[in-house]
Protein backbone atom coordinates (compact mmCIF):
# COMPACT_ATOMS: atom_id res chain seq x y z
CA UNK A 1 0.00 0.00 0.00
CA UNK A 2 2.96 2.31 0.72
CA UNK A 3 4.24 1.77 -2.81
CA UNK A 4 0.81 2.66 -4.23
CA UNK A 5 0.67 5.81 -2.10
CA UNK A 6 4.21 6.83 -3.05
CA UNK A 7 3.59 6.29 -6.77
CA UNK A 8 0.45 8.41 -6.67
CA UNK A 9 2.27 11.24 -4.88
CA UNK A 10 5.14 10.95 -7.36
CA UNK A 11 2.78 10.97 -10.35
CA UNK A 12 0.93 14.02 -9.07
CA UNK A 13 4.23 15.80 -8.44
CA UNK A 14 5.43 14.94 -11.95
CA UNK A 15 2.21 16.27 -13.57
CA UNK A 16 2.39 19.37 -11.40
CA UNK A 17 6.00 20.06 -12.34
CA UNK A 18 5.29 19.43 -16.03
CA UNK A 19 2.54 22.01 -15.93
CA UNK A 20 4.70 24.56 -14.13
CA UNK A 21 7.21 24.23 -16.95
CA UNK A 22 4.67 25.44 -19.49
CA UNK A 23 4.99 28.88 -20.96
CA UNK A 24 1.69 30.42 -19.86
CA UNK A 25 0.58 31.71 -16.48
CA UNK A 26 -2.59 29.61 -16.17
CA UNK A 27 -1.01 26.19 -16.60
CA UNK A 28 1.69 27.31 -14.15
CA UNK A 29 -0.95 28.13 -11.55
CA UNK A 30 -2.78 24.86 -12.12
CA UNK A 31 0.59 23.08 -11.96
CA UNK A 32 1.39 24.74 -8.66
CA UNK A 33 -1.96 23.68 -7.20
CA UNK A 34 -1.36 20.10 -8.35
CA UNK A 35 2.14 20.22 -6.89
CA UNK A 36 0.73 21.49 -3.59
CA UNK A 37 -1.76 18.59 -3.51
CA UNK A 38 1.10 16.13 -3.96
CA UNK A 39 3.26 17.86 -1.35
CA UNK A 40 0.36 17.87 1.11
CA UNK A 41 -0.10 14.14 0.57
CA UNK A 42 3.64 13.67 1.03
CA UNK A 43 3.74 15.63 4.28
CA UNK A 44 0.59 13.95 5.52
CA UNK A 45 2.20 10.55 5.11
CA UNK A 46 5.13 11.57 7.33
CA UNK A 47 3.17 10.39 10.30
CA UNK A 48 2.65 6.97 8.87
CA UNK A 49 -0.52 5.80 7.10
CA UNK A 50 -3.09 4.48 9.58
CA UNK A 51 -4.96 1.81 7.59
CA UNK A 52 -7.47 1.05 10.36
CA UNK A 53 -6.55 3.99 12.58
CA UNK A 54 -9.04 6.30 14.20
CA UNK A 55 -9.09 10.06 13.79
CA UNK A 56 -6.71 11.95 16.09
CA UNK A 57 -9.38 12.56 18.68
CA UNK A 58 -8.75 11.69 22.31
CA UNK A 59 -10.97 8.79 23.27
CA UNK A 60 -11.64 7.73 19.71
CA UNK A 61 -9.68 4.51 19.86
CA UNK A 62 -6.05 3.58 20.41
CA UNK A 63 -4.37 3.33 17.01
CA UNK A 64 -4.99 7.04 16.47
CA UNK A 65 -3.46 8.81 13.47
CA UNK A 66 -0.57 11.22 14.07
CA UNK A 67 -2.17 14.66 14.67
CA UNK A 68 0.95 16.79 14.06
CA UNK A 69 1.40 16.33 10.30
CA UNK A 70 -2.36 16.78 9.99
CA UNK A 71 -2.18 20.14 11.74
CA UNK A 72 0.72 21.23 9.52
CA UNK A 73 -0.99 20.08 6.33
CA UNK A 74 -4.19 21.85 7.35
CA UNK A 75 -2.30 25.11 7.67
CA UNK A 76 -0.51 24.37 4.39
CA UNK A 77 -3.80 23.86 2.55
CA UNK A 78 -5.27 27.16 3.71
CA UNK A 79 -2.13 29.18 3.06
CA UNK A 80 -1.78 27.35 -0.28
CA UNK A 81 -5.17 28.70 -1.24
CA UNK A 82 -4.20 32.27 -0.28
CA UNK A 83 -1.02 32.08 -2.32
CA UNK A 84 -2.74 30.48 -5.34
CA UNK A 85 -5.27 33.30 -5.23
CA UNK A 86 -2.47 35.86 -5.12
CA UNK A 87 -0.61 34.24 -8.03
CA UNK A 88 -3.73 33.95 -10.17
CA UNK A 89 -4.59 37.57 -9.68
CA UNK A 90 -0.98 38.54 -10.31
CA UNK A 91 -1.31 36.64 -13.62
CA UNK A 92 -4.51 38.52 -14.43
CA UNK A 93 -2.88 41.82 -13.59
CA UNK A 94 0.11 40.89 -15.76
CA UNK A 95 -2.22 40.09 -18.62
CA UNK A 96 -4.17 43.27 -18.05
CA UNK A 97 -1.09 45.50 -17.94
CA UNK A 98 1.42 43.68 -20.16
CA UNK A 99 -1.13 42.33 -22.57
CA UNK A 100 0.28 38.80 -22.62
CA UNK A 101 0.10 35.94 -20.18
CA UNK A 102 3.48 34.55 -21.19
CA UNK A 103 5.95 33.57 -18.53
CA UNK A 104 8.88 32.90 -20.83
CA UNK A 105 9.80 36.49 -21.21
CA UNK A 106 8.46 37.31 -24.65
CA UNK A 107 6.10 40.22 -24.78
CA UNK A 108 3.84 39.78 -27.76
CA UNK A 109 0.94 37.44 -27.65
CA UNK A 110 1.91 35.57 -30.76
CA UNK A 111 3.22 32.21 -29.64
CA UNK A 112 6.90 32.33 -30.48
CA UNK A 113 8.94 29.42 -29.25
CA UNK A 114 11.40 31.08 -26.93
CA UNK A 115 13.07 30.71 -23.58
CA UNK A 116 14.45 27.25 -24.42
CA UNK B 1 -52.54 37.44 0.37
CA UNK B 2 -49.23 37.42 2.22
CA UNK B 3 -50.09 38.58 5.70
CA UNK B 4 -47.91 41.03 7.63
CA UNK B 5 -44.79 39.34 8.94
CA UNK B 6 -44.25 39.46 12.70
CA UNK B 7 -40.87 41.00 13.50
CA UNK B 8 -39.54 38.16 15.56
CA UNK B 9 -40.58 35.15 13.49
CA UNK B 10 -40.53 36.36 9.86
CA UNK B 11 -40.81 32.87 8.39
CA UNK B 12 -42.17 30.51 11.03
CA UNK B 13 -41.83 27.50 8.78
CA UNK B 14 -38.14 28.18 8.17
CA UNK B 15 -37.39 28.64 11.89
CA UNK B 16 -39.07 25.35 12.73
CA UNK B 17 -37.18 23.62 9.94
CA UNK B 18 -33.88 25.10 11.20
CA UNK B 19 -34.58 23.93 14.76
CA UNK B 20 -35.31 20.41 13.55
CA UNK B 21 -32.14 20.40 11.43
CA UNK B 22 -30.06 21.66 14.38
CA UNK B 23 -31.34 18.88 16.60
CA UNK B 24 -30.66 16.35 13.85
CA UNK B 25 -27.13 17.69 13.58
CA UNK B 26 -26.54 17.46 17.30
CA UNK B 27 -28.12 14.04 17.51
CA UNK B 28 -29.41 14.87 20.95
CA UNK B 29 -32.39 16.61 22.44
CA UNK B 30 -30.56 17.90 25.53
CA UNK B 31 -31.97 21.15 26.93
CA UNK B 32 -28.72 23.02 26.10
CA UNK B 33 -28.91 22.05 22.45
CA UNK B 34 -32.58 22.93 22.32
CA UNK B 35 -31.93 26.44 23.62
CA UNK B 36 -29.00 26.93 21.23
CA UNK B 37 -31.09 25.59 18.35
CA UNK B 38 -33.92 27.96 19.18
CA UNK B 39 -31.54 30.93 19.32
CA UNK B 40 -30.07 30.00 15.93
CA UNK B 41 -33.47 29.28 14.45
CA UNK B 42 -34.50 32.84 15.26
CA UNK B 43 -31.19 34.57 14.46
CA UNK B 44 -30.50 33.15 10.98
CA UNK B 45 -33.90 33.94 9.42
CA UNK B 46 -33.75 37.40 10.98
CA UNK B 47 -30.38 37.86 9.28
CA UNK B 48 -31.60 36.68 5.91
CA UNK B 49 -35.30 37.70 6.03
CA UNK B 50 -35.07 41.25 4.69
CA UNK B 51 -34.16 40.06 1.24
CA UNK B 52 -36.28 36.99 1.10
CA UNK B 53 -38.53 36.67 -1.89
CA UNK B 54 -42.07 36.90 -0.53
CA UNK B 55 -42.99 33.24 -0.46
CA UNK B 56 -46.56 32.02 -0.53
CA UNK B 57 -47.57 30.86 2.84
CA UNK B 58 -48.19 27.22 3.48
CA UNK B 59 -52.00 26.73 3.56
CA UNK B 60 -52.16 23.08 4.34
CA UNK B 61 -48.79 21.73 5.66
CA UNK B 62 -50.32 18.25 6.03
CA UNK B 63 -50.99 18.02 2.30
CA UNK B 64 -47.25 18.79 1.76
CA UNK B 65 -46.23 15.80 3.87
CA UNK B 66 -48.55 13.47 1.91
CA UNK B 67 -47.25 15.05 -1.29
CA UNK B 68 -43.65 14.24 -0.24
CA UNK B 69 -44.60 10.64 0.59
CA UNK B 70 -46.21 10.20 -2.81
CA UNK B 71 -43.11 11.68 -4.46
CA UNK B 72 -40.86 9.28 -2.60
CA UNK B 73 -42.93 6.33 -3.75
CA UNK B 74 -42.81 7.62 -7.35
CA UNK B 75 -39.04 8.02 -7.10
CA UNK B 76 -38.57 4.41 -6.11
CA UNK B 77 -40.81 3.18 -8.94
CA UNK B 78 -39.10 5.57 -11.38
CA UNK B 79 -35.69 4.26 -10.53
CA UNK B 80 -36.78 0.68 -11.02
CA UNK B 81 -38.22 1.58 -14.43
CA UNK B 82 -35.15 3.50 -15.53
CA UNK B 83 -32.84 0.76 -14.28
CA UNK B 84 -34.74 -1.82 -16.30
CA UNK B 85 -34.60 0.42 -19.32
CA UNK B 86 -30.84 0.95 -18.97
CA UNK B 87 -30.11 -2.69 -18.25
CA UNK B 88 -31.76 -4.43 -21.20
CA UNK B 89 -29.50 -3.81 -24.18
CA UNK B 90 -32.20 -3.89 -26.81
CA UNK B 91 -34.24 -1.17 -25.12
CA UNK B 92 -35.73 1.08 -27.74
CA UNK B 93 -35.96 4.54 -26.27
CA UNK B 94 -38.40 7.07 -27.57
CA UNK B 95 -36.84 10.22 -26.07
CA UNK B 96 -38.65 13.52 -26.56
CA UNK B 97 -38.71 17.12 -25.41
CA UNK B 98 -42.09 18.18 -24.07
CA UNK B 99 -43.25 21.81 -23.72
CA UNK B 100 -45.16 21.99 -20.48
CA UNK B 101 -47.17 25.20 -19.90
CA UNK B 102 -46.99 26.06 -16.18
CA UNK B 103 -49.98 27.23 -14.19
CA UNK B 104 -48.00 28.03 -11.07
CA UNK B 105 -46.60 31.58 -10.73
CA UNK B 106 -44.68 31.61 -7.49
CA UNK B 107 -41.01 30.71 -7.67
CA UNK B 108 -40.87 28.23 -4.81
CA UNK B 109 -43.66 25.96 -6.04
CA UNK B 110 -42.20 26.04 -9.55
CA UNK B 111 -38.83 24.92 -8.21
CA UNK B 112 -40.54 22.23 -6.17
CA UNK B 113 -42.43 21.04 -9.24
CA UNK B 114 -39.27 21.06 -11.40
CA UNK B 115 -37.42 19.03 -8.75
CA UNK B 116 -40.15 16.47 -8.49
CA UNK B 117 -40.34 16.18 -12.28
CA UNK B 118 -36.58 15.55 -12.42
CA UNK B 119 -36.73 12.98 -9.62
CA UNK B 120 -39.84 11.15 -10.89
CA UNK B 121 -39.93 8.55 -13.67
CA UNK B 122 -38.13 9.17 -16.92
CA UNK B 123 -38.43 12.93 -16.98
CA UNK B 124 -35.90 15.75 -16.45
CA UNK B 125 -36.94 19.40 -16.38
CA UNK B 126 -34.44 20.63 -18.96
CA UNK B 127 -35.18 24.34 -19.48
CA UNK B 128 -37.37 26.99 -17.89
CA UNK B 129 -38.28 29.87 -20.21
CA UNK B 130 -37.17 33.32 -19.08
CA UNK B 131 -40.71 34.47 -18.29
CA UNK B 132 -41.23 31.37 -16.12
CA UNK B 133 -44.29 30.28 -18.15
CA UNK B 134 -43.04 27.21 -20.00
CA UNK B 135 -41.01 24.28 -18.75
CA UNK B 136 -39.24 22.08 -21.36
CA UNK B 137 -39.06 18.49 -20.14
CA UNK B 138 -36.86 15.80 -21.62
CA UNK B 139 -38.52 12.39 -21.34
CA UNK B 140 -36.61 9.19 -21.79
CA UNK B 141 -39.40 7.04 -23.19
CA UNK B 142 -42.82 8.48 -23.97
CA UNK B 143 -45.32 7.72 -26.68
CA UNK B 144 -47.73 10.62 -26.36
CA UNK B 145 -46.62 13.97 -24.93
CA UNK B 146 -50.11 15.17 -24.14
CA UNK B 147 -50.77 12.16 -21.97
CA UNK B 148 -47.51 12.84 -20.04
CA UNK B 149 -48.47 16.50 -19.57
CA UNK B 150 -51.91 15.63 -18.22
CA UNK B 151 -50.44 13.05 -15.89
CA UNK B 152 -47.87 15.50 -14.44
CA UNK B 153 -50.52 18.20 -14.09
CA UNK B 154 -52.86 15.86 -12.39
CA UNK B 155 -50.39 14.19 -10.07
CA UNK B 156 -48.17 17.07 -9.04
CA UNK B 157 -49.16 20.50 -10.21
CA UNK B 158 -52.72 20.46 -8.93
CA UNK B 159 -51.79 19.40 -5.34
CA UNK B 160 -49.01 22.00 -5.27
CA UNK B 161 -51.49 24.61 -6.44
CA UNK B 162 -53.79 23.55 -3.65
CA UNK B 163 -51.04 23.64 -1.05
CA UNK B 164 -49.59 26.99 -1.94
CA UNK B 165 -52.09 29.19 -3.64
CA UNK B 166 -55.77 28.98 -3.10
Amino acid sequence: MEALYATTTGLLAACGVYLTLRGRTFPVVVGLTLLSYSVNLFLFSMGGLAMHGNPAVVGAGTPAADPLPQALVLTAIVIGFAMTAFVVILAMRARGDLGSDHVNGNRLDVSREDGK
Amino acid sequence: MIKKRSRLLPTPMLSVLLLIVWLMLQNSVAPGQLLLGAVLAIAIPMLTYRFWEPQPDLQKPWRLISYFLRVIMDIIIANLQVSLLILNPRAKFRPAFVHYPLELEEKFPITLLASTITLTPGTVSAYLTLDGRHLIIHALDVEDEQELIDEIRQRYERPLKEIFEC
Binding site: - | M24, V124, H138
Partner: protein, 133 residues
Protein backbone atom coordinates in the same frame (compact mmCIF):
# COMPACT_ATOMS: atom_id res chain seq x y z
CA UNK C 1 -33.37 -6.66 22.40
CA UNK C 2 -34.56 -10.18 21.56
CA UNK C 3 -31.84 -12.36 20.13
CA UNK C 4 -33.58 -12.90 16.78
CA UNK C 5 -33.64 -9.14 16.25
CA UNK C 6 -29.93 -8.61 15.41
CA UNK C 7 -29.56 -10.97 12.42
CA UNK C 8 -32.73 -9.41 10.93
CA UNK C 9 -31.33 -5.92 11.45
CA UNK C 10 -28.04 -7.03 9.90
CA UNK C 11 -29.97 -8.46 7.00
CA UNK C 12 -31.81 -5.20 6.45
CA UNK C 13 -28.57 -3.21 6.57
CA UNK C 14 -26.93 -5.64 4.15
CA UNK C 15 -29.93 -5.36 1.83
CA UNK C 16 -29.83 -1.58 1.83
CA UNK C 17 -26.06 -1.55 1.25
CA UNK C 18 -26.22 -3.88 -1.71
CA UNK C 19 -29.31 -2.15 -3.17
CA UNK C 20 -27.55 1.21 -2.86
CA UNK C 21 -24.48 -0.21 -4.59
CA UNK C 22 -26.50 -1.69 -7.41
CA UNK C 23 -28.51 1.48 -7.99
CA UNK C 24 -25.31 3.60 -8.08
CA UNK C 25 -23.70 1.14 -10.46
CA UNK C 26 -26.72 1.24 -12.77
CA UNK C 27 -26.65 5.02 -12.68
CA UNK C 28 -23.03 5.07 -13.78
CA UNK C 29 -23.73 2.36 -16.34
CA UNK C 30 -26.46 4.55 -17.80
CA UNK C 31 -24.02 7.40 -17.81
CA UNK C 32 -21.57 5.45 -19.92
CA UNK C 33 -23.82 3.61 -22.31
CA UNK C 34 -26.61 5.94 -23.23
CA UNK C 35 -26.31 7.71 -26.57
CA UNK C 36 -26.73 11.41 -26.14
CA UNK C 37 -26.17 13.71 -23.23
CA UNK C 38 -29.84 14.25 -22.36
CA UNK C 39 -30.50 10.55 -21.97
CA UNK C 40 -27.33 10.18 -19.97
CA UNK C 41 -28.60 12.83 -17.61
CA UNK C 42 -31.40 10.58 -16.28
CA UNK C 43 -29.02 7.99 -14.81
CA UNK C 44 -27.11 10.02 -12.22
CA UNK C 45 -29.96 12.38 -11.36
CA UNK C 46 -32.25 9.56 -10.35
CA UNK C 47 -30.59 6.27 -9.64
CA UNK C 48 -27.26 7.40 -8.20
CA UNK C 49 -29.03 9.71 -5.79
CA UNK C 50 -31.35 6.92 -4.68
CA UNK C 51 -28.36 4.56 -4.38
CA UNK C 52 -26.58 6.96 -2.05
CA UNK C 53 -29.90 7.46 -0.20
CA UNK C 54 -30.09 3.72 0.47
CA UNK C 55 -26.51 3.63 1.73
CA UNK C 56 -27.31 6.48 4.08
CA UNK C 57 -30.38 4.63 5.33
CA UNK C 58 -28.16 1.58 5.94
CA UNK C 59 -25.66 3.57 7.93
CA UNK C 60 -28.47 5.16 9.95
CA UNK C 61 -29.77 1.77 10.96
CA UNK C 62 -26.25 0.46 11.50
CA UNK C 63 -25.38 3.22 13.95
CA UNK C 64 -28.80 2.89 15.51
CA UNK C 65 -27.94 -0.74 16.21
CA UNK C 66 -24.40 -0.13 17.44
CA UNK C 67 -24.78 3.09 19.42
CA UNK C 68 -28.28 2.66 20.62
CA UNK C 69 -29.80 5.99 19.52
CA UNK C 70 -30.91 7.24 16.17
CA UNK C 71 -28.44 9.46 14.36
CA UNK C 72 -30.35 11.83 12.12
CA UNK C 73 -27.31 13.22 10.33
CA UNK C 74 -27.72 10.79 7.48
CA UNK C 75 -31.27 12.05 7.11
CA UNK C 76 -29.88 15.58 6.76
CA UNK C 77 -27.44 14.47 4.06
CA UNK C 78 -30.24 12.76 2.14
CA UNK C 79 -32.33 15.93 2.31
CA UNK C 80 -29.35 17.93 1.03
CA UNK C 81 -28.91 15.46 -1.82
CA UNK C 82 -32.55 15.43 -2.80
CA UNK C 83 -32.59 19.23 -2.93
CA UNK C 84 -29.37 19.70 -4.90
CA UNK C 85 -29.56 16.78 -7.41
CA UNK C 86 -32.49 18.13 -9.45
CA UNK C 87 -30.98 21.62 -9.44
CA UNK C 88 -27.70 20.34 -10.89
CA UNK C 89 -29.59 18.23 -13.45
CA UNK C 90 -31.61 21.26 -14.49
CA UNK C 91 -28.54 23.48 -14.79
CA UNK C 92 -26.63 20.86 -16.72
CA UNK C 93 -29.39 20.40 -19.25
CA UNK C 94 -29.77 24.19 -19.52
CA UNK C 95 -26.05 24.44 -20.27
CA UNK C 96 -26.30 21.57 -22.77
CA UNK C 97 -29.21 23.20 -24.56
CA UNK C 98 -27.30 26.48 -24.55
CA UNK C 99 -24.35 24.71 -26.14
CA UNK C 100 -26.81 23.13 -28.61
CA UNK C 101 -25.52 19.60 -27.98
CA UNK C 102 -26.79 17.30 -30.68
CA UNK C 103 -29.55 15.06 -29.32
CA UNK C 104 -30.21 11.49 -30.42
CA UNK C 105 -31.91 11.45 -33.83
CA UNK C 106 -35.01 9.75 -32.38
CA UNK C 107 -35.78 12.57 -29.97
CA UNK C 108 -38.82 14.51 -31.14
CA UNK C 109 -39.29 18.33 -31.26
CA UNK C 110 -35.82 19.31 -30.07
CA UNK C 111 -35.96 22.97 -28.99
CA UNK C 112 -33.60 24.42 -31.60
CA UNK C 113 -34.03 28.15 -31.15
CA UNK C 114 -33.81 29.17 -27.48
CA UNK C 115 -34.80 32.68 -26.59
CA UNK C 116 -32.16 35.14 -27.64
CA UNK C 117 -31.30 37.87 -25.26
CA UNK C 118 -34.13 40.39 -25.28
CA UNK C 119 -31.76 43.33 -25.18
CA UNK C 120 -28.15 43.41 -26.60
CA UNK C 121 -25.94 41.59 -24.22
CA UNK C 122 -24.07 44.12 -22.19
CA UNK C 123 -20.99 41.93 -21.89
CA UNK C 124 -19.70 43.15 -25.20
CA UNK C 125 -15.98 43.13 -25.60
CA UNK C 126 -14.73 46.45 -24.47
CA UNK C 127 -11.88 47.36 -22.20
CA UNK C 128 -13.37 47.61 -18.74
CA UNK C 129 -11.85 49.96 -16.22
CA UNK C 130 -12.93 48.40 -12.96
CA UNK C 131 -13.31 50.63 -9.94
CA UNK C 132 -13.91 48.54 -6.86
CA UNK C 133 -16.42 50.14 -4.44
Amino acid sequence: MPTWFYPVLEGVIAFFLVAGGIFAFIGSLGLTHLKDFYMRLHGPSKTTTLGVGCVLMASMIYFRATTGHFSFQEMLITIFLFITAPATAHLLSKAALHQKLVADIRTRNVPDQLETASEPDEANAQQTESRLP
